[in-house]
Symmetry: C2
Subunit: 341 residues, 2 copies
């Protein structure tokens, strides 16, 4: 019989490092934690010992002693398919992961349903298992997440639904202004029947973009009746476009609250024989890979998704270090002109 034993060598401890460096454990601890209160010679000796033994501090022991877990929860209150299906999230998570990468923290993935926080997650988040949390998108109705910030350092992606309800930290763009800009572009093109495929009505980003669209049309004295809500997915974009076309076959433009939905909308427009932007001009939102993945390159409102993720992580890191941090951080958007409008 072959030896199935995994010879998992037991890792060296602080104690051993101290012994081989000929100093006390306190001193090793100091150099490991970058204290300046160490003489150059000792520093060198300890560093050498660490190197030699290939020492890595034990996370659990450290956490127990200093009451920090060095873990951050990445809470995703979205359906898995939506989370993974939207390039917007990819960019945000990329930014978060990138910013965390250069810290000592690790990211604990917490997939959650949009509304019901599981008992396990509640316990986990409140049970001292993480030092902080990043909540990647906002829905109303999730009171637990909304008030999580009272108990734990939390930064949100997107503004809270009720600004007065709690003092959240968050990063966002001015969704209303951005949507107004996108809609104005359509207006400047001379379009008169400008529809919107809006986001979910229970999400601030969804509501605000709708407001921006409305504002632009109002200023221009154009009708604001052509509105259908999607859920940010491609299929909902297609479904919404069909409904819009059925309601007004003569519409000549559509502002879509996400590029992914715009992709779905575009395929329906072509299916129905509309030329883009000739018959119908379309402006998307996000400037995600979805905007350039299809047959027709989308004109869209760019938001710096990856940078937003980075900023979210940076804010949380500052909070965790006790450094002063702005409560909200609003990033710039801009029009990106391509083929569809």
């Amino acid at each position: 019989m072959t030896t199935e034993q995994q010879t998992r060598r037991i890792p060296p401890t602080l104690e051993e490092v101290a012994a081989t460096a000929g100093v006390s454990r306190s001193t090793v601890s100091r150099v490991v934690n970058g204290s300046t209160q160490v003489s150059p010679e000792v520093l060198a000796a300890v560093t050498a010992a660490i190197e030699q033994l290939n020492y890595v501090p034990n996370r659990a022991a450290r956490s127990l002693a200093n009451r920090q877990t060095m873990a951050i929860a990445l809470v995703v209150p979205e359906e898995t398919t939506r989370f993974f299906g939207d390039p917007y999230f990819a960019a945000v998570v990329h930014g978060i992961a990138h910013a965390i990468e250069s810290s000592d923290y690790v990211l604990n993935l917490q997939l959650a349903s949009p509304f019901a926080p599981s008992a396990k997650m509640t316990k986990y988040l409140l049970g001292g298992n993480v030092d902080g949390a990043i909540v990647i998108s906002h829905h109303s109705g999730d009171h637990f997440l909304a008030t999580l910030g009272d108990t734990l350092p939390v930064v949100f992606g997107g503004r809270p639904l009720h600004p007065d309800e709690h003092n959240s930290y968050f990063v966002d763009v001015d969704n209303a202004a951005a949507a107004e800009m996108g809609t104005n572009h359509l207006i400047e093109l001379g379009r008169k029947r400008i529809a919107i495929i809006a986001g979910p009505a229970d999400m601030p980003a969804g509501m605000d973009r709708t407001d921006g669209w409305r504002r632009a049309l109002q200023s221009a004295g154009l009708p604001q009746n052509l509105i259908v809500h999607g859920d940010f997915s491609m299929v909902s974009g297609a479904r919404s476009m069909r409904e819009l076309l059925d309601r007004d076959p003569e519409l000549d433009a559509v502002f879509v609250a996400s590029d992914l939905m715009a992709t779905g909308a575009v395929s329906v427009l072509r299916e129905r024989g509309r030329s883009i932007p000739g018959d119908v001009a379309v402006v998307g939102f996000d400037d995600s890979p979805a905007a350039i993945g299809g047959d027709i390159q989308l004109t869209t409102v760019h938001q710096p998704s990856m940078e937003m993720g980075e900023k979210m992580a940076e804010m949380l890191l500052r909070l965790l270090r006790g450094e002063p941090t702005e409560r909200e951080w609003i990033m710039q958007t801009r029009m990106v002109m391509r083929e569809s409008a």
Copy 2:
């Protein structure tokens, strides 16, 4: 000045539970860990105390004492955009998260580049920070991940590239047989010029599906010259389709190694005026949401992605518990007939 102090109440300890229940710490520990060696009365008393104090065991202390981290690394050796862009991964991660959810483990997300393991990740994985790892997809060239299983319990999504190199645990489908089945469907349709948009040549799944396509054509005495490699992304599917069409404008079928690539291929086929499946029949692979998201519903080879994720997690959980586990687990595939072939 308002009190900005976060009154973060300090959580109750085992000690306190013991005190209020009137027993020793050992006993509380036993009931917390589900030992049967406890009298009913004591069990009731302790349970009540836990309930009353809202006690949650301290993870760090526990880890330190029993040398388990209760954490599992979810290693994703893919570009972020690809990882998030492919519904296949969404399903796998969903399955993993679901299986882990009912355990006491948490999932540490480790986004990695396909080839270069970062120093931080290496340290993390090897530094005793996790009890095990799930590596979600396989590339050749990544020697570090390939041999990670020698040091840590690891289960892979997809077979290892060099079966002899190490005794990995993995779950997979028979990609070659599955691709052969898909290609045979095209052959039975009477198609004669059957191309393939293959996966990356450095991934077992890519290679095996190509082999299956080849095998089917060989058996049928059909030419195997129409092959182009994509990278499983939609845009690569589109690009590959263009190249294929340029090489043989008369091709009448294409087997595509993933639904996402098939989506890209379909849009190019329509762009070039080909009817589907009239002029060109297409068969995809995965049966992911991508297969039914587009204008034309894809006929495809179904693989049980979510179940594969669940199985991966279950295998790792068994390994961690020291329970006997099969080294490999091959799941069933099947044809799903829809519009495209």
